[in-house]
């Protein structure tokens, strides 16, 4: 679509697409940039630990992350162990780093599941309207009436605690939110004059949907996805906290928090640190989501 964008023009106007414009506005938002950097670091950590596992053939994982060392249990932070040791004498820093991947990737995958399914349902409902819309959205309302955490617990309880079930449980519980967002934005775009204009010059349904409606309806969906990932991470941590998510000894912030809570009076570090991890990640995702919302709003153009 933008082949020769870099070329400077006779008119002197720099070439910018809508997305480039949005990125420029996003960069001005300091807080959102901090959030984005934090998330980038998390992604690097997640990928980094996976690479380390592959290279060392799980040596570090097995000998430091999950191997218990009861002699050093609940040791406070020191030079050797900057974040201290947990209730089984495992290094908190390593466990924190190794936990990033489950939270982050599971969050993203769960949201992808709900984003694709919910997005599809919402798009169909929004584009065709009338009866189709009614049937789909009433089904979504039913799903929405059940608190998402409760629904996830029910699904995991019914099908057992496996990674796939946890992902499905969280994915399904976020479907209605996505369906609603997508439906609303499709409905707004569908009645725009440029869609009618496209129809007036003979464009077919496929062209209209893929070139006119979807690109214009993307902005709120992207924001919703960012915020959704934050929610999903929180849900995964929550499920793990009550023992229905990631199972020990695999490190996961929620389950680390859960098993550490008994020791909160004597060893604050093993509860506070995973808690901070969850909190900062959610905060970063929310800040980035808010930044995106502002950046993608054409009314704030400057």
């Amino acid at each position: 679509m933008k082949k020769d964008n870099t070329k400077e023009l006779s008119s002197g106007v720099k070439q910018r697409s809508l997305w480039q414009d949005a990125w420029r506005r996003f960069k001005k938002n300091k807080l959102a940039m901090v959030g984005l950097v934090f998330l980038a670091v998390l992604v690097v950590i997640a990928i980094g630990t996976i690479v380390v596992d592959i290279v060392t053939n799980n040596y570090i994982y097995e000998n430091y992350v999950i191997k218990q060392n009861l002699r050093g249990r609940l040791e406070p932070p020191s030079a050797a162990h900057p974040l201290g040791l947990d209730e089984f004498g495992r290094d908190m820093l390593l466990r924190m780093l190794w936990a990033v991947r489950s939270s982050l990737f599971m969050g993203v995958i769960a949201i992808l599941i709900s984003g694709v399914l919910g997005g599809l349902l919402g798009a169909v409902a929004g584009y065709y309207g009338n009866k189709t819309d009614n049937i789909i959205m009433r089904a979504m309302d039913i799903l929405l009436a059940i608190p998402s955490m409760l629904l996830a617990i029910a699904i995991v309880a019914a099908f057992g605690t496996s990674l796939v079930n946890v992902l499905l449980a969280i994915g399904i519980s976020y479907i209605p939110t996505f369906a609603r967002t997508v439906r609303a934005s499709i409905m707004t775009v569908k009645d725009q004059e440029y869609v009618e204009a496209a129809r007036a010059v003979g464009a077919n349904d496929a062209t209209i949907i893929f070139k006119y409606i979807i690109p214009n309806a993307m902005a709120p969906i992207i924001v919703q996805t960012t915020l959704g990932v934050a929610g999903a991470i929180l849900s995964i941590a929550g499920l793990s906290f009550i023992g229905m998510g990631v199972q020990p000894p695999t490190p996961e912030w929620g389950s680390m928090l859960s098993s550490a809570r008994t020791y909160i009076r004597d060893s604050w570090h093993i509860t506070v640190i995973p808690g901070l991890g969850i909190m900062l990640t959610i905060l970063a995702l929310n800040v980035v989501g808010d930044g995106l919302r502002d950046a993608l709003d054409p009314r704030l153009k400057n």
């Binding site: 910018r16 004059e193 129809r199 007036a200 010059v201």
Partner: protein, 325 residues
Amino acid sequence: MADNNTLLQVKDLVIRYETDDGVVEALNGVSIEIHTGKTLGLVGETGAGKTTLAKGVLRLIPSPPGKIVSGEVLYDGKDLLKLSEEEMRKIRGKHISMIFQDPMTSLNPVMTVRDQIMEVILQHNNISKKEAEKRADDMLELVGIPAERGHEYPHQFSGGMKQRVIIAIALACQPKLLIADEPTTALDVTIQAQVLDLIQKLKTRDNTSMLLITHDLGVVAQTCDYVGIVYAGEIVEYGTLREVYKDMRHPYTKGLMASIPNLVENVRRLQTIEGLMPDPTNLPKGCKFSERCKYATDKCREKVPDMVNVGGEHMVRCILANEEK
């Protein structure tokens, strides 16, 4: 009425919107005719049914609630209302194109203008991307936009430039008929003249016919060959520009003309036509204008008057038309 020169003929078109609050009688038996290379201007108040007529011709009436109840739209002898959606799609853009009122919202904000022009060309011609690109650039140059600006996005253009792009899109496949739905209403006066000139120029080049919808009588005087005055979903006066402007017969047309401010005289208040358009869900039984007409008699309120020929091609829907003014 139809002869070899007739490109589009609309016969007794009736369009209704069936809403929860009742049936909106948007068009009540409109007949118009457009000759090759000629321009027909449709003038009327907001809500008179002008846009409904334009969309009806292209079958773009949103359905539901809109419904084409009866009538024929003959284009080159074919009834467009009987075509399949697939065949209709080939007519749109290639044979009949439409320019919309508001250039600000009629372009896709996430596509470059060149891509948007190419879109139509590729839709209707079996040519390579390269060729389409070249043709799109030619179109841009033709409407007075440097081709280098083709890969800019609509928000980087001014209103007048956007309207030019829209004209380029509408005329990219050299349609035989151009429907312009208030093409200059959203533009300021200086740009209006430029855009009208441009449309006029391209129209002459390709010998395109045009259906111009407007509520600006000045624009009609400048560009049209024929004029139709629309009131409450009916044509109340129809004729050549000269016939209608020089010898207006319908009280509504007279009212419209009288409401144009005069440059010479100094008046405190502008002339208006008393009252409002009748509610389209509850139209009067007789002449639709009778409620506001100062000449109206009981006879007017009984039945809808027929179109009366008052000489030449001049037709008037008024029982008083043939009496002396």
